[in-house]
């Protein structure tokens, strides 16, 4: 395999006293999807802006396909596409008008710009709305238009900053499908997200960043493996939680987390694990009837919580007007 197509080494960026990035390293192999996960203010947008030549780092280097993002910004711009944190569409133009405009600004001939616009509208299901003003599009359609605007020149690397924030589940699914389709074309995608399931579904590799640094890197499975499996037990009688807890504590060597509402317990397992048969037998001996006993891989949420000491953002309500609000922070 050749060199990674996106490389960042020791990126630093300060805004006054705020140290947005403090030595961020990244490497994304060509043709893969890299998910950058991080809590609010972790530095995701700042990193994407630097990689997309919109900001210069205070220290460190970044290269796209071997071209330095500062010294060879023009070469880089011809290789990348960027969909910022807020959909950047001209609301007063139609969907088709937007694509034609950006096609022309990409120096396609009028004919090519028109043809490419129709091709993309067709392929990503926006043909029906092509002649309506983008200002009247739903949040999901606007996002899709924003996304395909980046595709006019078939970028080799696509940066997507929180591509589905504020969308309802169906629109999210549509964006995910679009991203998957791009990857089959060979496009490399770097996407930031606060949704762990999004990273889990789309990303080949995940980089967790916090306070401007990468604090963990790996495939979703590798990250989950770092904190081990969990044992979940559901009791038939919630009143017996106390007894069950001491049995499980003895077996697993860790303190179980009880959930009185559902009458269940969950306990992290040391590596090497535990035999389910032993669990059932020991519970039986203590006179506790279990409705369900199971081993479970941790979710990325748990990994995230463990790594950053904070839970991931709650999903914003789908109808939240994130999409239409004029952005204080663009990208």
């Amino acid at each position: 395999m050749d060199d990674p197509i996106v490389v960042a080494e020791g990126l630093h960026k300060n805004f006054g006293d705020t140290r947005a990035l403090r030595g961020l390293d990244l490497a994304v192999p060509a043709g893969t999807v890299c998910g950058v996960l991080g809590p609010n203010g972790a530095g995701k947008t700042t990193a994407v802006r630097i990689l997309a030549t919109l900001a210069d780092p205070d220290a460190g280097h970044a290269r796209i396909a071997g071209h330095d993002v500062v010294a060879e910004a023009d070469r880089v711009r011809a290789l990348i596409g960027l969909a910022g944190q807020y959909a950047a569409v001209d609301e007063k133009l139609t969907g088709r008008g937007n694509l034609r405009l950006f096609g022309r600004l990409s120096h396609l001939s009028r004919r090519d710009a028109h043809r490419r616009a129709d091709e993309l509208l067709e392929r990503f299901g926006l043909m029906e709305a092509a002649d309506r003003r983008a200002g009247g599009y739903s949040g999901g359609m606007r996002r899709r238009l924003d996304l395909i605007t980046c595709l006019i020149l078939r970028p080799r690397v696509l940066f997507l900053d929180e591509p589905t924030t504020g969308l309802d589940p169906r629109s999210r699914g549509e964006i995910w499908d679009a991203i998957r389709e791009l990857v089959t074309d060979g496009t490399t995608v770097l996407l930031t997200t606060q949704y762990l399931d999004e990273a889990d579904r789309l990303a080949d590799d995940i980089v967790v960043i916090d306070h401007g640094r990468a604090i963990a890197t790996g495939t979703p499975d590798e990250l989950k493996a770092t904190i081990g499996d969990r044992l979940d037990v559901v009791l038939e009688d919630a009143a017996l939680l106390g007894g069950a807890a001491s049995v499980l504590a003895g077996l697993a060597g860790a303190e179980p987390v009880p959930d009185p509402e559902s009458g269940s317990l969950s306990v992290p397992l040391a590596r090497g694990g535990i035999r389910l048969a032993d669990v059932v037998r020991e519970l039986d001996r203590a006179g506790v009837a279990a409705a369900d006993v199971g081993l479970r891989r941790p979710t990325l949420d748990e990994v995230f919580l463990r790594l950053t000491g904070r839970p991931a953002e709650d999903d914003p309500a789908p109808d939240q007007s994130v999409e239409t609000a004029p952005a204080k922070e663009t990208v």
Partner: protein, 277 residues
């Protein structure tokens, strides 16, 4: 279909060509936007006509022109000047909207000519302004205004109005790049109105207190109005000694335009290109 990004030009002629082509594309964008919003188009065309009628007949019934003459003859140069001045704010609005909606960042992340965006926005404004100017001229002719000094001075008068408007649109462009925010731009919008009122555009300055007169005489809107009155041969050309700008209105307008361009073209281009907020 293979779509390849053309290589960015490396020679300065190539760059100039990209700047022109991109600038024209952005001018075309304004036209397409108007097509999408026929309502806006109609309003922007009807508005100048309404102003002519409103000012002409409301103020016209009350205001006496020193030295005599028809108020609507007196008014038209003032209206032309006012529109040239206030148009800057619409550029501010467009630029700020692009900046706050992320469209500006999209431009920046594309292999475009770097100065195309400010040149395109200001160029589009002037072209759009010509249309409004034609409507005003026609309405003016209908209500009895006309140029009296022949073709050449008339051409000069319009050239000055367009030049000043272009220079102002650069100031507006810079303002938009600095505020970067639609709402702020929207709040700034009404501020341009008092500036046009503090001039000789609508009322003779003779009756004003001395300090206010000084302010109005140095206002570029007054010089622009005075130059139009002089070149069109409309009433209201100041008689006797006033201040330097009103005695040499044409030179004053040229100086103001040059100064605005010298200051705001480089500032806007630099601000647009500046990275790393």
């Amino acid at each position: 279909m293979a779509v390849l990004a053309p290589r960015p030009p490396t020679t300065w002629t190539g760059r100039l060509r990209w700047t022109l082509v991109d600038g024209l594309t952005l001018v075309g964008r304004e036209l397409s936007r108007l097509r999408q919003e026929p309502g806006e188009l109609i309003v922007s065309l009807v508005f100048p006509a309404i102003m002519v009628l409103l000012f002409g007949y409301v103020f016209g019934s009350a205001i006496q022109i020193p030295g005599g003459g028809d108020y609507r003859e007196y008014l038209m140069p003032g209206l032309f000047a006012m529109v040239s001045f206030t148009s800057a704010m619409s550029v501010t609005m467009k630029v700020a909207t692009d900046a706050s909606r992320g469209v500006m960042d999209r431009f920046r992340s594309m292999p475009m000519a770097r100065s195309a965006v400010p040149f395109g926005q200001t160029g589009a404004d002037v072209l759009g302004g010509l249309l409004g100017l034609v409507i005003m001229v026609v309405t003016g002719l209908v209500v009895g205004w006309q140029p009296h000094r022949g073709l050449w001075p008339t051409v000069q008068a319009f050239a000055l109005l367009v030049l000043f408007r272009y220079a102002m649109s650069w100031a507006g462009c810079y303002l938009g790049l600095v505020v970067k925010n639609e709402q702020t731009a929207d709040q700034l919008l009404p501020l341009s109105l008092p500036v046009t009122m503090l001039s000789n555009a609508f009322v003779p300055t003779g009756g004003m207190p001395a300090w206010l007169r000084t302010v109005t005489e140095w206002n570029p809107v007054s010089a622009l109005t005075a130059s139009s009155r002089e070149l069109f041969g409309n009433p209201g050309v100041p008689a006797g000694h006033t201040s330097w700008p009103l005695e040499h209105p044409v030179a004053t307008v040229l100086l103001w335009s040059a100064a605005l361009l010298v200051v705001f073209v480089p500032l806007s281009v630099r601000t647009y290109q500046r990275k790393g907020r």
